[in-house]
């Protein structure tokens, strides 16, 4: 198999730490078919940002229909919804929410946080020259690219793009429910995206295991790397389960097998609920896959910008690991209403509640890190704090969904949509931008504009809360999700003003992204030149290499001496005159002994 070949090829290139891959010179090898993790990271981030724009625009169309049911979509409506005179038709609405969810999860957040920052941060933060398998890494990106092409094609086939929701439950997703080719292409695209993610995951896990710089044990790794590593482990184990579901669904649609078609008792048959098992065995870990990189980044940023060590560093790392383990055994909470045996249901409910214990632990560690810190409200820090807030809020709403008795009422209402947007969409959205603003100087060698960044933050943070809390509200009022036009139901009529308020907030959020776009493009070319360590932090990529780093990252592989959060230690301050100490920074001889004893605690 190809991964075999790739693994084999790389086996030769990595002996001793002196061999530096020569920098490619041709344009194609350097910027397009590059095997450099930093270039691949940027490719993933570009891809993710483009799709975040597309998915975001779709959200605006959904919100338009909910606020102004039956009115033509302004400006581009006539072009996009040409068959229905600019009105979002019911079929188009179905495709819109399906593709919005799919794109945001698999083609925006996953590429940015995992493909992008996983690639960028892991080798740099552990002091490696590249991933262990650089070719596999490039292959992973191009697989994702193929997947996006298939997805884009699916919009232009007869009967249009997929329409069975991002969860694609049969029987809606069988050829009876959604006959078009679009749904089949969706299945293929997701399979390819999964293959890409799996290749990335194998690379990340192996890189962390084998390429940590000398002296960097697991508990000297920055929490960002912890988050990304745990993400990769969940990906490697659970993406294949999604793949199995996609294979069976594909066979049902194309070959005519019966896996998800209910049969008769005598003849035997498939089981539509089987798909839900397969999907959620993957799906629940998936929501942690999406948020874990964000948790990791935030755990580091809170410490960096409070100028304090991360409170309970080891506990945070272990609590996140515990969440990963538990995430594998709670998926049934998505299926309380499917006729699951009550005993199983109770079990899943208890296990789900138990997850909140480790989650609470690292959440409190975050707050402790902030407590009495010398907080610097930089743009990345603002976004990090935003994540903490919306994740906390969203996490609390999860308790109502984990409880069977309340879930029976809230299931499939906008309360669910509000809940998962707060925890998964809003939190990851803010986490992505925290990461982008934080690592931008290292990636592009230029600083972003703080004023535009702050405008972007406030234009994101406030509307995000209004939108998704609004959704919680209408959901509690009983309004179902995936509902084309709630205003035709007498019970939901009074919710129309709230829906209009949510939609207006969404437009404001969309408007706020203009600040980001200007900042991003302007700073990339005209921003102030970034110094090596503009944020005065401790991790290797800032302390031991230039901005941007050379092709081989480190001229000398650093030797790590301490953990990633060495801030405000009075002994160090006496010895060095600054309040932070790099992970590989040697102290001047005087005072080293005393200070070292201090860090040992």
């Amino acid at each position: 198999m190809s991964e075999h070949a790739a693994a084999h090829d790389e086996a030769h290139g990595e002996h001793g730490d002196h061999d530096i891959h020569p920098e490619p010179t041709s344009f194609l090898r350097k910027y397009v078919f590059s095997t450099d993790h930093k270039v691949i990271a940027k490719q993933f981030i570009w891809l993710g940002l483009i799709f975040m724009f597309i998915g975001g625009s779709m959200a605006m169309m959904i919100r338009w229909q909910l606020a102004n049911p039956g009115e033509p979509f302004p400006i581009l409506g006539k072009q996009i919804f040409s068959n229905s005179g600019g009105i979002v038709s019911p079929a188009a609405y179905t495709s819109l929410f399906t593709m919005h969810g799919t794109i945001m999860i698999f083609y925006a957040i996953t590429p940015i946080m995992i493909g992008g920052f996983g690639n960028f941060c892991i080798p740099l933060m552990i002091g490696a020259r590249d991933m262990v398998f650089p070719k596999l890494n490039a292959f992973s990106f191009w697989m994702m690219f193929v997947s996006t092409i298939i997805l884009v094609i699916s919009f232009f086939v007869p009967m249009g793009a997929a329409g069975a929701g991002w969860t694609t439950y049969p029987t809606l997703s069988t050829t009876m429910g959604t006959p078009g080719v679009g749904q089949t292409l969706w299945v293929v695209a997701i399979y390819c995206a999964g293959a890409s993610t799996l290749m990335g995951a194998v690379n990340y896990i192996t890189t962390v295991i084998v390429l940590r710089a000398p002296g960097m044990g697991y508990f000297q790794m920055p929490l960002t790397v912890w988050g990304l590593w745990l993400t990769a482990i969940l990906n490697a184990l659970f993406i294949p389960v999604l793949a199995a579901g996609m294979i069976l669904l594909f066979l049902d649609r194309v070959v005519g097998t019966h896996f998800f078609l209910a049969g008769t008792m005598v003849k035997g048959g498939g089981d539509p609920i089987l798909y839900q098992h397969l999907f959620w065995i993957f799906g629940h870990p998936e929501v942690y896959i999406l948020i874990l990189p964000g948790w990791g980044v935030v755990s580091d940023l809170l410490s960096f910008f409070s100028r304090k060590p991360a409170y309970g560093y080891k506990v945070t790392a272990l609590a996140m690991s515990a969440v990963c383990v538990l995430s594998a055994v709670v998926y049934g909470h998505h299926m309380f209403t499917t006729g699951l045996s009550p005993l199983l249901g109770q079990g899943f409910m208890v296990l789900t509640m138990i997850i909140s214990v480790p989650a609470e632990i690292f959440f409190l560690n975050w707050l402790h890190t902030l407590w009495k810190g010398k907080i610097r409200l930089t743009v990345p820090m603002l976004f990090a704090l935003g994540l903490v807030f919306v994740f906390g809020l969203g996490g609390l709403t999860g308790l109502y969904l984990a409880t069977i008795s309340t879930d029976l009422y809230l299931h499939d209402t906008y309360f669910v949509v509000g809940h998962f947007h707060l925890t998964m969409a809003a939190a990851v959205f803010l986490g992505s931008f925290a990461s982008i603003y934080f690592w931008f100087p290292k990636m592009f060698g230029r600083m972003t504009n703080p004023l535009l960044g702050k405008l972007h933050f406030w234009f994101s943070f406030i509307p995000i809360n209004l939108i998704f809390c609004g959704m919680l509200y209408v959901g509690f009022g009983g309004m179902q999700r995936r509902l084309y036009d709630p205003s035709v139901y007498a019970t939901f009529k009074h919710l129309l003003p709230v829906n209009q308020f949510i939609s207006t907030s969404a437009y404001v959020l969309g408007f706020g992204s203009i600040f980001f776009s200007i900042n991003f493009f302007y700073s990339m070319f005209y921003g102030a030149k970034a110094p090596q360590n503009p944020w005065e932090v401790t991790t290797l990529e800032w302390t031991n290499t230039t901005s941007p780093p050379p092709h081989h990252n480190y001229d000398v592989i650093p030797t790590v001496l301490r953990g990633a959060h060495e801030f405000g230690n009075p002994e160090f301050m006496k010895a060095t005159g600054k309040d932070w100490l790099g992970q590989a920074e040697e102290l001047p001889a005087a005072g080293a002994k005393a200070a070292d004893k201090e860090t040992a605690e």
Partner: protein, 198 residues
Amino acid sequence: MAAAITPPMTALQGYSRRKDTGPYVGMVIFLSAFGMCFAALFFSYSVVRTGAMSWPPAGTEPLPLGLPALNTLVLALSSWTFHRAYVAARRGQPVVAWLGVTFCLGALFMALQLVVWVSVYRSGLHPSSGIYGSVFYALTVFHALHVVSALVTILYLLPGALVGRYGAANHTAVRLSAMFWHFVDVIWVAMFLSVYVF
């Protein structure tokens, strides 16, 4: 440089030792992932099977046993020959004969599998004729695709083996391919027992 904070030598040694294990670690993770995929397929099989009144469902003929049993032996033998190839590579002995035999056994497996598919198809059991056919074809074809990939890895090794490239210091590729081969064989045993026998 302060003596107190020089890392102990073992950190450096550990670093260079770790670096060489990359391909194996990567392979183990890949195989765990494939294992999860097969586990999900077996899980699906168990769900539809426990939901059926009888298995095979009434009116469906059971699958043939003879050829698949023979095929199990063929694969077991091929695992052994591949292991011999790996041992030979480690000892610096020629591997090409062992690899060649393994390849032939793998090809024989595919040929027999083809015979089984054709005869089952002729007997009227189609992928679309019910859940029994769905399970049979989906699982065996998916497994066979992995056998084909494993055969491709041998094809990839053979030219090097012919010129004697693999030896004590350079047997990583042979080992990786062997790991994959054994994995595919183990899956087959599970499949043989659950799809054909019981």
